[in-house]
Symmetry: C2
Subunit: 303 residues, 2 copies
């Protein structure tokens, strides 16, 4: 019997990636391009073009379905996308119909951070555990939850919105319309904002990290504060969910050396007794492949 | 084929209740007494006495196991209990051994608020839904989580500790050793503390509720603040888990008429857009039976 395979998408504000992957996790083909300034129809056309190129590259393989990791907090059962802060032109479009029609395949959408969490659980940093909280630190902050060895997506695919846990009552205004969300203290955007407030001449969180590694006290203080805020938020989740492990990914996770100690200290300090030191906190391992692999795995599970 | 049956316990700081219940939820026998000032051995003896009385009362029934709802935040796989603030003499004892030996039955322990949540899901307020957050407002605040139609207990049975979500940084000191926990703003203890701070001559949260119902502005303000704090905490959970429904039980839920409006308003205000008005919030229906029924259901599922 031939192994099943799926096509899988990770759609970001900057890059669109499509792979062909088998049920044991072998990537048979990869395609990517930039999301660019396209209309919604053009975005779907580009995804379809990459998917067809993957099909050709993979050769004589039949695909069971198309898994789609999408940066939205709301996915209704019919496939209509909620708000997408980084690709707003797709809001309200029906991804199942748009891609299903173009590819003649069943489309299984899933939140991108949930997909990345499942990818790491399948083949990465949390393999072999049971209860996982994944955190993606990027332009915003996303998250995903593995509960008793299954991805938990919640009503309208909305579970795992770690970035919108309130950690400071009446704190910084957030794009979601509320205040004090974790995202406003731990994302790349937040790190750059704080750097500017402290007079550093930087435009990226990587540059702040480089300064911190070179010993700049302001840059080091920013990562110390970011780690402390993240640990405070993760402790709330730890008390509520009692997971085995936290897996931290996304671009900002590259600053691990600067925030690992404060995040761990704050996690222990704010967790219930015993629970802070019992839970593990590790870096993600799969980089950009986590989302596509997780979207594929979710698709295999749904079929 | 005869239907399976279980014995089930709900152990509280004040009352100990044991029932005999069938797999379809029929209660065949009930026994209860006061927890009293007993040594740990005497508590286990008393539970065994009630269980044996239930066995006799139920007549010709064979019991598959003994489900035990216990007020502890930590249950290791071997049956050793963590801290029990209201029955401290049981901390560190092995409930599986102690009761297994006395009753010659397999013992399945579960956190009491998790059990109550499962009981309401099986036969009460959240029947027919899929993702549930249960809140027990009593002397303290407990909680339980139904995820994709299954009780999720987490590592060491510790999931659902809603009472220890931080809602005020640097706020009121909590018995867990930290500050600003939800329990310090929404429990019966917190309501009585606030009433005393406002000069009301009361010793129970029921008395504060009676004053509020009679129009006392201080008592009304206490419930308004309690509802607002609870809604703030539930919004954190709503953003993280995107459940279908919140089920509010425990003694303080009797004050529902005084806090329903502020809890709903704060839940909507602090949830992500759409998510606050989509989720339901209802009162528990089963009263004191929720815990024993949930312990029994969990036991049937584990066998």
């Amino acid at each position: 019997m031939t192994e099943r395979a799926a096509l899988a998408l990770d759609l970001g504000g900057t890059n669109v990636r499509v792979v062909a992957v088998t049920e044991s996790g072998d990537i048979l083909a990869r395609q990517h391009s930039s999301t660019g300034r396209r209309t919604s129809g053009e975005v779907y056309d580009e995804i379809a073009r990459l998917a067809k190129a993957c099909r050709e590259e993979a050769g004589d393989v039949e695909f069971a379905a198309f898994g789609a990791a999408i940066p939205t907090t709301e996915l209704d059962d019919g496939g209509v996308l909620g708000s997408l802060p980084n690709i707003p032109q797709l809001a309200g479009t029906n991804i199942k119909e748009e891609l299903g029609r173009r590819l003649n395949l069943e489309v299984v959408p899933v939140n991108d951070a949930s997909a990345a969490t499942l990818g790491e659980y399948w083949l990465g940093a949390s393999k072999g555990t049971r209860n996982v909280v994944g955190i993606t630190l990027g332009t915003g902050v996303g998250g995903g939850l593995i509960v008793d060895s299954r991805l938990y997506v919640g009503v309208a695919g909305g579970a795992g919105e770690i970035g919108h846990i309130t950690i400071v009552s009446g704190g910084e205004a957030c794009g979601c319309g509320r205040r004090g969300c974790l995202e406003q203290y731990c994302s790349a955007t937040a790190i750059v904002r704080q750097a500017k407030e402290r007079g550093l001449q930087v435009t990226t969180s990587e540059a702040v990290f480089d300064l911190a590694e070179a010993g700049d006290p302001e840059a080091k203080a920013i990562f110390a504060q970011m780690g402390s805020s993240l640990g405070f938020g993760l402790a709330i989740i730890n008390n509520l969910l009692s997971p085995d492990i936290f897996v931290v990914g996304g671009g900002v996770a590259n600053g691990w050396a600067q925030f690992f100690e404060p995040v761990t200290a704050a996690l222990i300090e704010n967790s219930l007794p015993d629970r802070g030191s019992r839970v593990k906190i590790v870096r993600a391992l799969l980089g950009d492949d986590a989302g596509v692999l997780g979207a594929a795995k979710y698709t295999f599970q749904q079929l």
